[in-house]
Symmetry: C2
Subunit: 352 residues, 2 copies
């Protein structure tokens, strides 16, 4: 996507350095951060400098390429690879793209006949993963745009735009495509507490694309659905199980429940790298619990433009912070993937 006249991906590699958009600074500043070694890349995933299923996947792929470039020659090569892969696997538990990317680069390394060839193969596979992710975003946009009627008022939750992928995004891709096709669209953007990815990232992306929108408190989506002010919902996914259940940002389930009770079509958009055929149902998806401080504190810009953290709960208050939830397949109308549309319960056959 274009920022200040220049085309950016969310994450990319130059030499052995991984470079990525520093997402906690958006919308306040647009900054690219350099991560010279795989340990830095792993930390950037854990601390959510990069977030969003597809972008996490691409970052993990590049992280694996860094592991291959850093690994010593000779007999210790594969031990270093194994250890690096394990470190990257432990950065975040929920998004399937992370594990998918690590396995893909691992297989490329294992298939090589020399250390030099393994390093080359790792970098090439990481680049291929990123390219596939960007292409998938565009294809999701093409398949999803026909679901959006002219004049549609759309709800989205969290950020599943280009910042959550390498380019384009999943949930926002059909919206961008419909907008470029000249359809009138209006997007209600859930703030998405506790980390505010909607208020910060989705609002910033839509502003950049010139798509009309309004940020709402997460609490307001049900009210708008009941009043008939939302025509459809599109969200992304962090993991899709074999039975069509999905895990996505906490709060997705509440939106799906309101959509179900109000007859509002609920769409989930994702690339096939998010599909986990080994996961039988939503109950088997590991749900990350993050620090309670994300509930206690809010980060924003003060009057002087400085980033500042303020506490919104009493000192000593207790909090819980599950980061994802599971939405059952039967709450979802249609999946939008880079290979086309499918009914949630058909996903295993469709993506086989």
């Amino acid at each position: 996507m274009i920022v200040a006249g220049k085309h950016y991906r969310t994450v990319w590699m130059e030499g052995s350095t991984v470079r990525m958009v520093n997402q906690p600074l958006i919308p306040y500043r647009f900054e690219v951060i350099d991560l010279p070694i795989h340990r830095h890349t792993a930390e950037a995933i854990t601390t959510m400098v990069v977030r969003g299923a597809g972008a996490i996947g691409a970052a993990a792929g590049y992280g694996m390429a860094q592991v291959a470039l850093e690994a010593p020659d000779g007999r210790e090569f594969m031990a270093y690879i194994t250890e690096g892969a394990e470190r990257l696997r432990h950065t975040r538990p929920t998004a399937h793209d992370l594990f998918y990317a690590i396995e893909r680069v691992l297989r490329a390394i294992e298939g090589a006949t020399s250390v030099a060839a393994a390093r080359r193969a790792a970098v090439e596979e990481a680049e291929r993963l990123a390219d596939e992710n960007a292409a998938a975003g565009k294809a999701i946009g093409e398949h999803g745009a026909p679901l959006i009627p002219d004049g549609a008022r759309i709800l989205t939750h969290c950020n599943a735009g280009w910042l959550a992928f390498v380019d384009w995004g999943s949930a926002l891709a059909p919206i961008y495509m419909a907008h470029r096709q000249g359809k009138r669209v209006f997007v209600y953007v859930d703030e998405t507490r506790p980390r505010g990815q909607g208020a910060r990232l989705t609002a910033w992306e839509l502003e950049g694309e010139g798509v009309p929108y309004a940020v709402i408190a997460d609490n307001a989506a049900g009210y708008l659905m009941r009043r008939g002010e939302i025509d459809l919902v599109i969200v992304g996914a962090d993991r899709v199980a074999a039975n069509g259940d999905i895990a996505n940002k906490i709060g997705t389930y509440e939106k799906a429940a309101c959509a179900l009770l109000n007859g509002v079509p609920f769409y989930v958009a994702f690339p096939s790298s998010t599909f986990d055929p080994k996961c039988p149902s939503g109950e088997a998806i590991p749900i990350e619990e993050r620090s309670a401080d994300e509930v206690h504190y809010v980060i924003g810009q003060d009057e002087e433009g400085a980033l500042r953290r303020v506490r919104i709960t009493p000192l000593g208050a207790q909090a819980r912070n599950p980061a994802f939830d599971v939405t059952p397949a039967d709450y979802i109308k249609t999946f939008i993937t880079e290979r086309g549309l499918c009914a949630p319960k058909e996903v295993s056959r469709f993506l086989a």
Copy 2:
């Protein structure tokens, strides 16, 4: 309730001055604010220095008493009363207690045979309203406590505790009562964006009462219900329509939707002053839209303990901010009132 060893009501009157707990400062500071004339009291309602249906009602009743004390003798007396009542009616649109209190004091004034008697009657009626509200809170606690089993994990939304009333509260009153009866209870407290009444006020109240709790992002309640971690939901109400539909803080409907789909009993607690027999259904309840700035900015305490406002959306971002939503009667299991329990659809007969 007790703060630092002293018994406080949320709002009261001394001479012609209305005094109230300054709620935007909680939990950071506990401060009482003095409002010498009814215009100040009206402004305190509009700007939410006092909030919560019952507390708004009591403040409006005292505001009407101030109007009567300020009104000039002679022929202009009733014109001043009418104008003051109109000013107080326009402070907030949704909570019925406000209109109920204004009408009650107006009737007391109109029934008096002299200006001096009208002033006395206005003050007495305002005090009676406050006393009734405090007594209703306690009675709601007594009627509601038996609905809470030992070991219950309870979800509440917004603040319907003693800060929202003159004392005790509505949704929290049965919880306080059950806790004092020695039952083990655990409360999940919705943060309640955009103004954070759960994170700030309910957490602070529960901390003061020693009731175990955890603050959660508004997005997390559905997840906990699906996992069977919530046994019941209790919320308050700002207005109850004749058919049993209720208006309450934005987000209440989303919780009710998740409760309905997961078989979690959903209780609504309110005093009869919140019941509006002239309002046929939820569709007729006026829903306040407040400033978009409540979505754009979050107020909290910085590292030095100062209150500070930070911006969480891009500058220039659009936002919408409905402050209440409507939950239909058939989402609600039981109403808890000071006169006992009733089925939502029976409310008109029950409170007649």
